[in-house]
Symmetry: C2
Subunit: 407 residues, 2 copies
């Protein structure tokens, strides 16, 4: 439901009355108001600066996944501390397989070869001179929410859902580059390889490569960050994060996929019948409430804005519904406009908490009509051997004292 269509709730004004805001509002007599400024500085502040930093009072940070080798680990976006639909580049989740290489963009090259008419080496300057596009897209590791398959559920939204982030990416359409170089008829796959020491590589189908894939060199207005593939990464809209190869230095056109480690022993899903799903590219529609979420505590009864994020690898989010009674009833949330395709969509839902126990959850529907499933529905199809692609509905339980934990 578009933001403007949010129904005017009866008693909406109640959230500012009496104890509705946790009793922190201080009604004051009519006065000149200088009292509000008493604690504020009265000497000159800091001068202008060349490159800004956040306030030292702000502590939002990526949490790490425990690992003997932090070079082959992951870090999680603190979704509970994020606003709107963009993830600050400094807080974009990470997943490295052999650490972040330090690459001099002047030395970096992209080789495009194999089944193309004109194999070519591109410098970064070459790529930056070509026609560019900028698009807002989420990235999600397909291992996001993997703990939710079993009893080891993440205690908070950061560790449960923080392998997902959203940025404005700028670069060249891969279809443009491939069109210029002349793709041969037998070329059905593109092998994308990174310049990290492990040469992380994935096989990408021709059809997607000629659709909306970006050779991205910028993120949120500036050069892409080192952890995100500086100076060049593949952005494969809506497809699992691992395909969005970072530190991209090679694209090879081939008749067959390469069956690399990360598309065989990893990033596949063992089904109940003993077969494994391969090449599970698209990220299914998913949503999660980021406030209130696990580890938080409501400051008191009264008005709270439930908010969260929804996204789909198949296009635009059309609807998000919220339940505050454990899934018995669902009501539409307001969606932040504009809603980009394959991007985070922020949803918001006004909630009057009476102070008792409550179970909160969200479910989204994308433009294909697909609706996010409950965990039981997902398990019925996929069994319990999966690690990747858990897009199930996430319930949060609010206790009577306001504390929130995974249900």
């Amino acid at each position: 439901m578009p933001e403007r269509d949010l129904p005017r709730r009866p008693g909406r004004r109640v959230f500012l009355q009496t104890a509705a805001l946790g009793g922190t509002l201080a009604a004051c007599a009519k006065q000149d108001g200088d009292s509000a400024a008493d604690q504020e500085p009265n000497r000159l502040g800091k001068p202008v600066s060349d490159y800004g930093r956040r306030s030292p009072f702000e502590k939002a940070a990526r949490k790490f996944r425990e690992s003997k080798t932090p070079e082959a680990s992951a870090s999680f976006t603190p979704l509970q501390d994020c606003h709107g639909i963009l993830t600050p580049a400094s807080l974009h989740f990470e997943r490295h397989h052999s650490g972040v290489p330090a690459i001099d963009p002047k030395q970096h090259r992209l080789l495009v070869h194999g089944l193309v008419e004109r194999p070519t080496v591109f410098t970064m300057e070459d790529l930056r001179r070509m026609p560019s596009v900028s698009r807002v897209h989420f990235l999600e590791c397909s291992g996001n929410s993997s703990g939710d398959w079993g009893p080891q559920r993440a205690p908070d939204v950061q560790r449960g859902h923080g392998l997902a982030s959203c940025s404005e990416w700028t670069g060249v359409l891969l279809s443009l580059v491939l069109g210029e170089l002349g793709v041969q008829r037998e070329a059905q796959w593109v092998i994308a390889e990174g310049a990290d020491p492990c040469k992380m590589a994935r096989s990408l189908p021709r059809k997607k490569a000629l659709d909306d894939v970006l050779l991205a060199y910028a993120q949120n207005g500036e050069a892409i960050r080192p952890e995100q593939g500086y100076p060049l990464r593949l952005v494969v809209p809506g497809w699992e994060g691992n395909l969005n190869v970072k530190w991209l230095h090679r694209l090879k056109l081939t008749p067959e996929p390469y069956m690399t480690k990360d598309e065989t022993s990893k990033y596949t899903d063992l089904l109940p019948d003993g077969k494994a799903r391969l090449f599970t590219f698209e990220m299914d529609a998913k949503s999660v409430i980021t406030y209130p979420s696990g580890g938080q505590k409501l400051s008191g009864p009264g008005f709270h804005e439930i908010t969260g994020l929804a996204w789909s690898g198949r296009g635009r989010i059309e609807k998000v519904e919220v339940s505050v009674d454990g899934g018995q009833t669902w009501r539409p949330a307001a969606l932040q406009e504009p809603r980009h395709r394959m991007a985070f969509t922020r949803f918001r839902y006004p909630w009057q908490w009476e102070g008792g126990e409550a179970v909160l959850q969200s479910r989204c529907t994308d433009e294909t009509g697909y609706t996010q499933p409950a965990l039981e529905e997902l398990i019925a199809v996929r069994g319990m051997n999966s690690n990747y692609h858990n897009n199930s509905i996430k319930p949060w339980k609010v206790a009577a004292d306001g504390s929130v934990e995974a249900a």
Copy 2:
């Protein structure tokens, strides 16, 4: 013109042929391609980290305006180094009147008083609990491009147009807060005051305050930056930057404006007849080419993508036209979608540079039908005594050797 409607230019492929990319493309024999990786690292890179930084190879920085008091100065966004429509928070332009105060958000208060039924002091926690919205908006200092009034034209787009930036802002609608507190009939103005030592203050008309003004606490997904008003600033979409009061700590509802320093001796425009324009709130539609722009040098003849930014204080950008022949002919540029209201719109125009002299410029038209004027047209109306509100067309001159300067 939407991006998808960009005409397929005859000979579009030429930009990848022969010397079209400055001769830097190296066609290579069909080989396995490991040569491209030879210069790349082969040991483990950096591990995951809690809060990322940009690559040390990236040097984009805000330039300062020279000042005896850098606490009361300005710094300019390097528009020539920016991509897409978002400005990285670290590079958002600054304009301080007494420096950046260091404010503890737990101690910060917003007092809303004067002609309201329920004068109230808000904590940051109070505001964050209220219904929120996120919107992409530009901010522009009305002194942006002031040098273009006279012969002292800025040599590059950063110093000429860099007092403009664009972010996704999140906060509470001021209309919601005022609606809750009860605005009295006689209240026609809202006096907004910052917590900086100089208590920078501006008068805002009731109508705008009840329309789309935000009490913003977040920028581009995280807490607003100190230079941008941490923890709270007014965002007044489309209106001159100075009205977007930073470090906001007080709003007073009054029958009349306060005629503060920054709306009388400053931020007014002396007209040829000796009268001055007061309360020139809306920023007129404006555009500028960021590549190629002053101080840059084209690496060689062939394809170049002309790109730049357009914005209007009155709504959406509907059209940007580009001239590559000193204004004799104009052709539509492609516009990045979606186009937000009162936000940067990125435009792109494919250009085949033959190697001779050229004068490049852009002009935009907004949803009201208003078209950006030439400097002479602006001077005919406003005379030569103005400092603020110069939204004239900006020509860049390309010399035969590829160097670019202000025309």
